[in-house]
Symmetry: D3
Subunit: 258 residues, 6 copies
């Protein structure tokens, strides 16, 4: 069930069967000379929508929220097309998404993330949200979970087999393959130079551009292909459903309020 | 040119020809028993992407940013599936989008809006952004513009002809028609009761739900059809291109810095 | 009843008869070569105090709060004497005024506004305040209303008769006339050049000063006179009392809390 | 020169002769059974306007900004009619006033304060404003000064002679006398009980109302009279002009930027 | 009892006997050519720990929280080693300390302050915290108190006897003596020039450094000695225990909630 | 060199030899029935001060800032004595520490962290700080680094040898051993039940206390001893010096400003 093409009575009915919602979250930022700017939000969206389709076919619908498409990408601002939130803004926005969904009765809010640079801020936001309850000694009526798509069960292994060298950590062949599989008319044939990009620390945008002239970190995106992308999507969709089901079924201990 | 399926070098090239970017912006909120929750962000996205296609065919490409899909919908929070930002969060996020795009050299940033409840906050944000420069006596290197799709030239008239009664102001047949045209498998056949919804002031969510039990305001969404939606999209896309072109060509007076 | 020359027990007694308070709100900003810097807060103050006097004479007292005299005027900062709040500050301050008055039991809080540049931010603030309740599923115990004095019943028509040309939109003859009527020793005899000021979009302060060299937009303030000002005050005071009475009497639907 | 009944070209001319502006600042809060709610902002306004008149007569005009009429009065919120800003809001608003005035070239910004509860927050705000420059190693182009009217030279002594007992610290006969002198038709004849109010610490509003049932602290406001008020105004006006002149003439050391 | 070398069950037990906690709070900032950068947080820490030891010996334990070591020192940022919070940050942090301790049941939270520049911001923060309750008409379950160590009973007199001239107001011989007594291997033998430092107003860091070239204000720190420091510590520790005991025993009036 | 027992001229001299400063950062929170509340800030302080002593003996002084002793511990607020900052407050405070130190010319700011719950927020803060420069296209004049003491070279291995079972992740025998080594009179002899604590996810404080009744996660703190603590301190001090030296020596690429 895709939230944004549903009506409110349909969501209300869904809530009588399940209290879980999955939010694809990513970033819109440069992905080297051949990667799409939307890569990091397209990947979780593609996987989540594939999972939704699978679940519907299996008669156990899951609910996918709209994609949270702009994240924390300050270090990529030296490259045209990147759009970033400051961490403090990102936190406020995630809070509002969560408090809106919690208002309707969702008790398990699952973020499927597509951008490494988002992780710290999302986790800090979870603490900021829980803290509202912790200072007041109240029970929080929902649980939050963050999973990166590349950490879904089986994916890391599949990537290491597919891309034994040149996977790198930004503009990776795996993420680019996923977008190519979903948008086959967007494949770029440029061969970057050097073929495998350099590595280094991540700081402000000017430093980043000086260290990583075409934007990639450690990757050889020419290894990406539509076929590999489809394999990753298929595997990730299955793992996502399992992971979300585990999260939905996780028991909560009896809590005392002080 | 769709920003999120472009690469950064492509955007850099685009910037040597044009300094204008169009951002579809809306809201994810209840639209009555037959309207999609995404209606208000889908409409400007649909129109902007139609315009982009038209412009590409005409050899005068325009650039469409990712859709800003969550806006200010606090009054709809009594209905499942609504996701809202607080105005203060919304402002911070718009600021970050603008400052990111301005960083790359965009000088005309055009928001195509799909939600009446967004207008005040977007305009307040424009002032907040301009104020950064005004307090320092600096020239702002970009101009901001907000247009609601229903205010595009010719659209209001077309709506009044299509829907002489029962247009209303929320979950209107015009916006629902646009989504039906773009998502023909999402047409809902429910007939709401009463056929034309009541009117009244907009306050907090509890008050809203008490006044507007199924979420609609003044509208009869059964008047929507795929055909009417397509007509609206076609007309709006043409008007959007003209309006954006006017904005791009608008001369800026010589400014003194104090 | 003027709040700031009342005592707290007097306000407590007023509250047993009425739950409505009227707040004049405006801005302190340049009004061209002949308009007073205080014009936009003096106008609503003058009208509200005239209405208060009228109501007292009629034995149906209304309560006028102190004037909120600094608003959102970032675009006027290129002209000496302008004092502006950033929209975000303006929002926080309006929230605190409202939460203070609501604390005492006021249920209808009516802002009589004198500055077009305030509208978006005030409306965004209303949403910010209502949102406190909407996210929690609570009923908001008060209603907020914004009326610009020039939108009071009968005023626009009176202005178009008085000033068929040269009314414009900033430093207008109508607002200047009102201040001249209230402060007859402050009439300025300067004739601006050109007599009718130019029009254009409003952006940051440097852009504003470049477009509107003496500060006016589209207006010929030499049309203002003490007599016209008094007519406007008299008419607006009557309309304000009617509008506030309607607001006070407006029924609230039974609300469910979720 | 009263800023809000001046035009911007007049302020621009004033700036060629003086860089100093005086801002009356206070609070709108309960002042016991006989004191006006506006007492704390009316007092500095009355004194500043008296000083302005005197200065104009002496041919050495001073400039008085609009009155900052709502301050930090959270502890008085248990009494009807009190309007308070949170300290954080108060800080943001003072910052915006200062940055607006500094934008026009004012170099000495003098706050004449009428409310003890404002002092800490105003001083914290001065540090917040200076800190903008201190972190960047920049020279701040203006100096800020806070003076309470009761600390103006000669006033404390005059009060101790006029009110040897029963002056107290809130709803004092001196401040009430000043408002009675300026608003002689607003004298209240109520005799509070007990005649001299209790003393104690100041905390939240519920605690305050429990300790100080009618709002006063340590004062006997029946000692106030129009005559005493006028004496205080006359003396304070003279002292204010001297204090502001000293501040205007204070030399600034040569500053190095790092 | 020193909180940070206690376990949580020990603090829980302490709370069954006492609801009071003492927080040493200061600043880390230049203290002239001979004073330690930590002077302003070391002094209250030294005194509080001495008091704790004394109380333990007397069988009436008091609880000392960790030291809040960074305060509001923007004006000292022109001197290496100074670390400052902006007032707004300082306020947020104090709020969080207080709300954490209040969460555990502490009802009397006593700040022993070592830095004059902190006073305004700490007091503003107390108001910000109380305001949370005052706007809602709630009773605040705790009381806050700020005492500067030099205002403890008997200390000012002792200082005036020890240092009849050259005490000054920053990098004073009294505070330096206290640190020397606690850190006898950190005595500096430099003789500053001039021996007694100049006086003047405090503004931004650039202005401060121009007025006070070596950082001191009005002081002659060569008057400090280990012996005098020890005397001050001993006296202050005794006074602190008395002052905290009075605060703990202070009755709270019955409060009505509105 | 310990910053807080140094004078500002000494720090100025240090800066002519080195631009690196090390900040111990941790948290004050429950550490089970036998761990000290200060454990997480004491550990990095103990290690950093041991390293400082070693470096001084080797004639290559390093500079240690005061300890940042309160961090992000919202989940521990159900246990008495825990003091936590909200993530948003923590971020603001870290920003101010960094901007203060950067103001003096420090170019490498190294945080030695003692609390796992701090990591996400510290990293998010680094991005917030870098973003100031990235949006403006400016070069950031300093680099930031976060290292947890347990990630220092050799420590994890030493822990796994010392504590093959029962190390766990909160109130671990390694961190408790370090505090016991430094504060030998603070060893607690309580044997917790069960000996090895349970594991689980970390959410709000009420949930935490329900899952982890005595506060520990997965650990058996009875394995801690003074001897093991000393070994860990010695090894960590050496590794810290190496890691900080590497960071100080790290070359920065030539950066272009856009
Ligand atoms: Ni990526
Ligand atoms: Ni809509
Ligand atoms: Ni106006
Ligand atoms: Ni007063
Ligand atoms: Ni000091
Ligand atoms: Ni720990």
């Amino acid at each position: 069930m895709i939230l944004h093409v549903s009506t409110w009575p349909e969501i209300e009915r869904f809530l009588s069967a399940s209290k879980t919602v999955i939010i694809p979250i990513g970033s819109n930022e440069q992905h080297g000379p051949t990667g799409l700017l939307g890569t990091d939000w397209l990947c979780p969206e593609i996987i989540a929508h594939a999972a939704e389709k699978l679940a519907a076919e299996q008669g156990e619908p899951v609910l996918i929220a709209p994609t949270f498409n702009i994240g924390m990408a300050q270090h990529h601002l030296g490259f045209a097309g990147t759009i970033s939130l400051r961490p403090s803004t990102f936190m406020a926005a995630i809070e509002d998404w969560v408090m809106s969904l919690a208002r309707h009765g969702f008790e398990r809010i699952y973020f499927l993330n597509g951008h490494g640079g988002n992780i710290a801020t999302i986790e800090a936001t979870f603490s900021e949200i829980y803290a509202r309850y912790s200072y007041r000694g109240e029970v929080c009526p929902f649980a939050l979970k963050l999973t990166n798509w590349w950490d879904l069960s089986g994916i890391a292994k599949m990537c290491s087999v597919m891309f034994p060298t040149g996977h790198g950590s930004h503009a990776t062949p795996s993420e680019i393959a996923i977008t190519y599989a979903a948008y086959p008319d967007q494949v770029r044939d440029v061969v970057p130079d050097p073929k495998i990009a350099p590595n280094g620390p991540i700081r402000e945008a000017a430093d980043y551009r000086a260290r990583f002239p075409d934007g990639r970190i450690g990757s050889d995106p020419t290894l990406a292909s539509i076929e590999k992308g489809q394999q990753l999507i298929d595997a990730a969709a299955i793992s996502l459903l399992k992971d979300a089901a585990r999260f939905s079924a996780e028991p909560v201990p009896p809590k005392a309020v002080s």
